[in-house]
Symmetry: C2
DNA sequence: ACATTTGTACCACTTAAGTGGTAGTTTGTT
DNA sequence: AACAAACTACCACTTAAGTGGTACAAATGT
């Protein structure tokens, strides 16, 4: 069985010790290093090519996200799993944005932690269960706002077509109406939604997950 | 303790029986109905207002997704949790799109199933663990393509600003260059990415999660 | 019956966007 | 030194987009 090398990055020595202890009980996991800052983490990762890095988010100096970003930009093929107390939505989404390979909460059960670490090493994305809701939330359509319901059928159709990159002329052809009418609908929907251009309209559609 | 009423929707009677049996072992859960089609599910939900509906995706007649959509459009405030064998990406994302309150796999462990059902009733979004990867994947930036790296610094900046709804004039002001130059960058980036307009560019940016 | 909303259409006008070309400067590479 | 790539700028031109009106028919609600 291959032994996976793990690097711990956290500025609390006691917590590192605890995690190191826990990990050392597994015979397929090995803590190859413990560092307390992002800079050191990057240095260590380049020289020692660990298989997985457990990275705290809230550190002095380089932030966890900056460190994550740097680690991913570097050639290291180490998996980077965030290990944080924060169940904050922006933290989780930021981590995802910078391609973290997982996000585990510090208050996880030890067995869960070990299990997920193993999964992460195997290449799966892992995340503590309470955080799945954050993922789901950002993928779901927003609740329909009053303002959205104020759009008429035609305006909504126009909006969708704008968001699909169609020109007014194309929209007119598709809906079987004149370009002038398309412009009328645009005008009205821009006004209702407080938008200045079709690009803003397209982005509005994306944000509100209109398809 | 409040007892939650559950409706089972699946066109396999045997499977329904199994699940019903499992659920009936819990004293806070009660199976109020079992139906084998989407139509019946909708009817039942309207008349009997269950607290939670376990909905199969792959059914004869109305598909699971259509049923989900109908249930959500109706005034029923029942939680609808998909209960399927499919760990297919599109199925999961579709379910999310139509505001499913959860997505559980049929090969889940019984205890897990019960636990997640309880969480769903409490208002949490629940999902079987293997599927979290699908959520993560759709939230992460795509791998950087060659074509994306072919963009120069300025072109990329322009693209971002276009995607934020800025006009050429605003982009020019922001970058401290003339509008003519902005147009040059646009022209080049459109050509590189094969786009026809700034709206398409904005949508391209969204798809490739450029921010 | 009357008023409102929605969808349709047209016009005239202004501004924005996109295309084709030329060309100078910097920066980095060979 | 020569070259290529990137960034800059300008011009002329075409097309697209957006604004402000007016207007009328159909449907809807009061």
């Amino acid at each position: 069985m291959k032994i996976a090398n793990i690097l711990l990055v956290d500025d609390h020595p006691m917590l590192r010790k605890g995690v190191a202890q826990l990990i050392s009980l597994e015979d397929n996991l090995n803590v190859v290093g413990e560092v307390n800052s992002g800079d050191e983490a990057i240095m260590f990762a380049i020289n020692n090519t660990p298989d997985l890095i457990l990275l705290d988010l809230n550190m002095k100096g380089l932030s966890g996200i900056e460190t994550l970003s740097a680690l991913k930009r570097a050639n290291t093929c180490a998996k980077v799993v965030i290990f944080s107390v924060s169940d904050n939505e922006t933290d989780v989404l930021q981590a995802l944005k910078f391609n973290a390979d997982g996000y585990l909460l510090k208050d996880s059960e030890p067995e869960e932690l070990i299990e997920k670490i193993n999964h992460a090493i195997a290449g799966e994305f892992v995340i503590s269960e309470p955080l799945t809701q954050i993922l789901a939330k950002s993928l779901r359509p927003q609740v329909k706002t009053n303002i959205m319901q104020s759009l008429t059928q035609r305006e909504l159709e126009n909006l969708k077509l704008i968001a699909s990159g169609k020109s007014n002329k194309e929209i007119a052809r598709k809906l079987g109406i004149t370009e002038a009418t398309v412009k009328v609908h645009n005008k009205n929907l821009f006004k209702k939604l407080g938008l200045k251009s079709r690009v803003e309209a397209a982005m509005w559609a994306v944000e509100h997950k209109i398809s």
